[in-house]
C-alpha cells in the first residue's frame, strides 16, 4: 500500500494550519510527531523520577520504561543483546565515546584510522584529536565526483596493514549517496580492522541490521529519526564494550568506589555516567514505535518519488548545478546544489522569509566541500511528511529568489 502522506502529516502538530512551514531540513533535524511529544509529556507529568536509583514506585516505573527503550532500540537495529545499546546525548558523543574509550586503549602511534571524504565533522574531528594525542595516522579513501567511493583505494590502504579502524558514513548528509557498507565492512574485517558506521542519516531512511552488516560499532541520533534532541545511540558488539574502559566518570558507571580507587560497572551502564536522558530515551522509543505503522518499503518508495521529483524540478532551474548523482536510485533524503552567482546564505535566508526551510553552508563537511571544490552549498532534504506540492512551491519561490539576487 502506498504511503498516505496526509495521514502522516496529521500526526504532526507543526504541520497543522495553513501557515505550516515547508520543511526541507530533515537531514539536520526531523520534525517530531505528537506521539513522541506525548510519551515524554506523560513521563514528566506522571512518573518523573531518576532511573536505577532508589526503591520507590516512580523510579521503578521510570527505570522500566528506560530499559524498555533500550530493548526497543536494540530490536530496531537487530542488535543481538539490549546491553549492546548505550544511550548518549547524540551521534557525535557516540563516536567520541569510541574514539576515547576504544581508541585510546587500542590505537598506538603509527596505527591508521581510515575515513571516507563523505564524512561529517563528527566522524572526522574525534579521530584528528586522537591523531594529536596518540600520533595515529588518519587516511582517506578516494572518491569520484559523483560521490562513489573507490574500492581500489580502500584495498590499497588496507593492504599496508596499518589500518585498525574503518569509520564510515552509511549515507552522506550532503550528496545522499550510500557507500556499500556490506562490502567495506567485509574488506575491513578481512584486513583485521574494526568498523564504525555513522548511521546518523541512514537510520531514518533505510532499515539497519547490525548483525547483517557485521559492523563493530554503529552510531546515530534520536532527533533525525523523528525523536527528540538530547539522545544518541551507540551500538557496540558485546565483547568490545566489555573490554573497553569507561568514558566519563561519575554515578551509575561504577561497580565500587573507595577513597583512592574505583572499579567500573558492566556495559551499558559503564558508559552512562550521571543521570541519563530519561525522557529522551522514552521519546526515542516512542518514535521507533510510531514509525512501525509505516512499512519500510512504503517509506522508501515514497521518499524515492520525492527525490525523483526534486531532481526533475531542480534540473529545470537555470544556472543551478546539482552535486553528486542525478539519478534518484543513487540518492537518498537530500540533494545539494550551487546556484551561479548566488550565495547559499542569501538563497536560504530569502526562502526562510517565506517559511521555506533549506540549509545553506558546508553542512559540517568541509573536507567534502573542498574535495568537490565548492565553498558552500544549498541543501534540500526530505522526511516522510514532505509532499510533491511542497516541492512545486519550492521551485517557484526559488526561481523568484534567484531572480531577485541575480
Amino acid at each position: 500500500m502506498a504511503l498516505d502522506v496526509q495521514a502522516v502529516r496529521r500526526q504532526f502538530s507543526v504541520f497543522a494550519g495553513k501557515d505550516a512551514p515547508l520543511y526541507f531540513d530533515s537531514a539536520a533535524t526531523a520534525q517530531t510527531p505528537d506521539a513522541v511529544i506525548e510519551a515524554m509529556d506523560e513521563y514528566y507529568r506522571t512518573y518523573c523520577a531518576n532511573v536505577h536509583r532508589g526503591m520507590h514506585a516512580l523510579t521503578e516505573r521510570a527505570t522500566l520504561r528506560y530499559e524498555e527503550a533500550r530493548k526497543t532500540v536494540g530490536a530496531f537495529i537487530n542488535a543481538k543483546y539490549p546491553r549492546e545499546i548505550v544511550f548518549t546525548k547524540n551521534c557525535t558523543e557516540s563516536i567520541n565515546l569510541v574514539a576515547r574509550a576504544w581508541g585510546e586503549q587500542n590505537l598506538q602511534a603509527g596505527d591508521t584510522v581510515l575515513l571516507s571524504p563523505l564524512e561529517h565533522h563528527s566522524n572526522i574531528v574525534p579521530w584528528l584529536q586522537l591523531k594529536e594525542r596518540r600520533n595515529i595516522a588518519v587516511e582517506w579513501m578516494e572518491m569520484d565526483d559523483a560521490g562513489r567511493l573507490k574500492m581500489e583505494s580502500l584495498k590499497k590502504i588496507l593492504g599496508k596493514g596499518k589500518v585498525k579502524l574503518v569509520a564510515i558514513t552509511g549515507q552522506s548528509n550532503v550528496l545522499g549517496v550510500r557507500p556499500d557498507l556490506q562490502k567495506i565492512i567485509r574488506m575491513a574485517h578481512d584486513a583485521g580492522a574494526r568498523t564504525l558506521v555513522d548511521a546518523a542519516q541512514l537510520i531514518a531512511h533505510h532499515p539497519v541490521d547490525v548483525q547483517a552488516l557485521g559492523c563493530d560499532f554503529l552510531a546515530f541520533s534520536g532527533h533525525k529519526l523523528y525523536g527528540p534532541t538530547g539522545i544518541g545511540v551507540l551500538y557496540g558488539k558485546r565483547d568490545l564494550l566489555e573490554e573497553m574502559p569507561p568514558f566519563l566518570g561519575g554515578g551509575m558507571m561504577i561497580h565500587e568506589v573507595k577513597t583512592d580507587r574505583f572499579s567500573p560497572g558492566e556495559p551499558p551502564q559503564k558508559f552512562e555516567a550521571g543521570t541519563p536522558p530519561i525522557a529522551q530515551a522514552i521519546g526515542l522509543a516512542a518514535a521507533i514505535e510510531w514509525m512501525k505503522q509505516f512499512p519500510w518499503k512504503d517509506i522508501e518508495t515514497y521518499e524515492r518519488s520525492l527525490i525523483q521529483k526534486a531532481l526533475t524540478l531542480l534540473g529545470k532551474v537555470e544556472g543551478l548545478t546539482i552535486l553528486g548523482p542525478k539519478d534518484a536510485d543513487a540518492v537518498s533524503c537530500c540533494i545539494s546544489f550551487v546556484a551561479d552567482g548566488v550565495h547559499p546564505h542569501d538563497l536560504t535566508d530569502i526562502l526562510g522569509q517565506q517559511q521555506i526551510a533549506l540549509r545553506g553552508g558546508h553542512h559540517c563537511t568541509q573536507p567534502l566541500h573542498e574535495r568537490l571544490n565548492v565553498p558552500a552549498t544549498t541543501r534540500l532534504s526530505i522526511g516522510m511528511y514532505n509532499t510533491a506540492e511542497e516541492l512545486e512551491t519550492l521551485k517557484v519561490e526559488m526561481q523568484k529568489a534567484l531572480d531577485l539576487l541575480r
Binding site: H343, P344, H345, D346, D349, I350, Q353, G360, G361, H362, P375, A376, L404, L405, R406
Partner: protein, 137 residues
C-alpha cells in the same frame, strides 16, 4: 524591513571600488569560515588619509554590499576616523536590521578594514570578538 532592500541589492549587483589598485601599500584578507565569505582590501595611505581603496571578494549579498558601501565611506577618510568606526556605523550604512544569523556577514567588511589598518600600523590583527564589540571580561 527587508534584509534584501533595494540599496543592498544595488551594491551587490554593481559593487563600488571592486577591483585592484595598480600599486598598493597594504593588502589584507579576512574570511568568515562559517560560510566561506572572503574579502581582500588594498589601500594607499597618504598624509594620514586613505587615499585609495579597492577590494576583491566573494560571498553573500550582505557581506559584499557591506564592503562596497564601506569602501565608499572611508575613501579620503583620516586613519584616525576610519580606525574609530564601529559596528553601528556599518549597520547605519546598510540601513537594515541585522539579526544574529547574519551579523558576521554584515561585519566582515569592518573586520577586514580594521585589520588592514592594524597591519599598516604594525600592530597585531584583532579577533572577531573585538570587531563585534563583545567584551571578553
Amino acid at each position: 524591513m527587508d534584509l534584501y532592500a533595494e540599496n543592498i541589492l544595488a551594491h551587490y549587483r554593481a559593487p563600488q571600488n571592486k577591483g585592484d589598485l595598480q600599486e598598493a601599500s597594504i593588502t589584507h584578507t579576512e574570511a568568515n569560515h562559517a560560510c566561506g565569505d572572503e574579502l581582500t582590501v588594498q589601500m594607499n595611505i597618504e598624509n594620514g588619509r586613505i587615499a585609495e581603496i579597492a577590494w576583491q571578494g566573494a560571498g553573500c549579498a550582505i557581506s559584499q554590499a557591506g564592503m562596497s558601501m564601506l569602501s565608499e565611506e572611508v575613501r579620503g577618510m583620516t586613519l584616525e576616523k576610519a580606525g574609530a568606526l564601529g559596528q553601528k556605523d556599518v549597520y547605519d550604512l546598510l540601513g537594515i536590521p541585522v539579526g544574529p544569523r547574519r551579523f558576521k556577514c554584515a561585519l566582515l567588511c569592518l573586520h577586514t578594514l580594521k585589520n588592514t589598518l592594524n597591519v599598516y600600523r604594525k600592530i597585531p590583527v584583532q579577533g572577531w570578538l573585538k570587531t563585534v564589540e563583545i567584551d571578553e571580561e
